[in-house]
Point group: C2
Chain length 331, copies 2
């Protein structure tokens, strides 16, 4: 395993130390060492919180910052933060106006967020939640509640964070974030597996010469293993999954996010984006805003995810708002 | 080869198409298809140009933007742009005040920039150059002119671009960029090789269980192949190469840039940065500004580079200036 680490058991703590030092203009430590909070949170706003397992950087702590999330709970690699960490993230973010907890649909996160919401209530903090479920390949359309959250979470945080920064009430922030994720569909294609540092070898397999359509961020099985295809066919396969599901249609304006899974050269993400854009244009779907880069990764996995969000006037305004975090800086 | 591409011979053209579409708020196409220029270049400023082979994204086109480079010449993967591309980049950037061409010390780039400077002179454009040579491991200290440029180029562009944006004359821009690179030292550690898409297999080797200290961005041999070490020892090895060379000393204020080489998980860069920061602090060297991320890569190579720049008041002011490009956004 050719990796940069000390004792694999310490990787999250050590990463956090480096992260807090490198970005001390944007984030700071909280009392709970597994919580990262934004610096200089404007007074009186609704709090926005997220959290999740480590190894998906910039997610999750990379989206703590100005006009984004106010705090994030940090889990071990690929495992949920504790309920206590979610609770403490809510405490850090609460200013008496309530907290919107915007997170992804994974069993551990669901369980711990639910417990944190109850504990917060006892402590007098109102926490409402939006659960991201943008990964089309993870369950049929009539079981959207079973779908996982993937890179669409980035757009949910962007929208929810902007709504809170604009002075939205808790219900307005929740409604905007819910609309963001309801309007969003994603799919991933995996080309190589990833290796958890404490394990030392991949815990799932993608054979050379094949690719897995619909693979999850932790190697959850996709919907099809097929021969590795050129970028044009990957783009077609991805849009064939994503576009009919919402469905996106001629005349729609969308935000498009193409994220690498960690190890794919960024230049190749642009090759893929070029193909995706050609398909969208051909269908009369207009890209209002594009994000291409490593926005939601799985350690050193190769591959990419495509996320498309249908925009309306409110979502455009929220997507356009400046934001500043390690993972997303937008003027 | 598990990668996202169509015909490998088209990868640069296709990447450029995707890049220009995704970042149309920051960059635009030039007449020469192998030149990318910034949108809305402020009138009357000195032009700032760079260029280099592809596969190092964000370098080079990812540093074209506001208060950074005005144009970049684009080469094939790991090969220099043509003299014509450098010339046309200078044409795009020139506003009668001259052009600073800030590039890295590679034979192809040197040859083509020299030709471009001559052709520009004939066309009435004054081009002056700064050649980055921050890679300590690539030649002894008394032969600095032989050293390659690596991630220190990012800080050179930051400084030169800011100086030009502040209204500096051509000589002032050149002097600032030259000071930036003279004050900068870098070293890389490679953990895996990378594969050029048109070749299909790695063109150099790093054995599992080993690491190569001082490796170049194209797999140029380093100064030592040794057993893969924990992050703490990697950090010590890197600082042992970089710090004595300038030399950086107690009381210095520095900018630190830790860049992944492409495939290393970003969380591991923070583990490395934490160790580096501890060493710098222990020596009484103060980190004024830190950059951690994928700033200058080599396709899907694993490993990282460390870059340290000694700051003075002028360099601090230029480093602090806001900037906006695909690869570097700073408020």
């Amino acid at each position: 395993m050719q990796r940069i680490l000390n004792n694999p058991d310490d990787i999250v703590d050590e990463m956090l130390k480096g992260f807090l030092k490198a970005h001390s203009d944007i984030v700071e430590a909280a009392d709970n060492p597994r919580v990262v909070k934004a610096r200089n949170i404007p007074e009186g706003k609704v709090g926005v919180v997220t959290g999740g397992g480590s190894g998906h950087k910039p997610a999750f702590i990379g989206y703590v910052g100005r006009n984004l999330c106010d705090a994030a709970a940090v889990g071990e690699i690929c495992s949920s933060p504790t309920a206590a960490a979610f609770l403490d993230a809510c405490r850090e973010a609460d200013q008496g106006q309530g907290v919107a907890c915007l997170y992804g649909n994974y069993s551990g996160d669901n369980m711990n967020v639910k417990m944190a919401v109850k504990m917060a209530k006892k402590a007098g903090i109102t926490v409402k939640t939006v659960v991201a479920n943008d990964d089309v390949a993870s369950a049929p359309k009539d079981q959207r509640e079973k779908r996982r959250g993937v890179a669409g979470e980035v757009l949910m945080w962007k929208v929810g964070g902007a709504k809170a920064a604009k002075g939205g009430s808790l219900d307005e922030v929740i409604a905007a974030a819910q609309k963001a994720i309801d309007n969003t569909r994603s799919v991933g294609i995996g080309l190589t597996p990833c290796t958890l540092p404490a394990v030392g070898h991949p815990n799932f397999e993608i054979k050379d010469g094949t690719m897995e359509v619909g693979i999850g961020h932790h190697g959850e099985p996709g919907i099809e293993v097929c021969p590795l295809a050129p970028a044009a066919q990957m783009a077609k396969r991805m849009t064939d999954v994503v576009l009919p599901d919402y469905p996106f249609a001629e005349g729609d304006e969308v935000a498009v996010l193409v994220s690498g899974l960690g190890a794919t050269p960024v230049m190749e993400l642009y090759v893929l984006y070029d193909e995706i854009d050609r398909i969208l244009s051909g269908k009369g779907i207009k890209t209002y805003k594009a994000y291409v880069g490593n926005y939601f990764t799985s350690l050193e996995m190769m591959g990419a995810t495509l996320t498309v969000m249908k925009l309306d006037d409110e979502l455009k305004e929220l997507i356009d708002m400046p934001a500043e975090s390690m993972g997303l800086k937008q003027f």
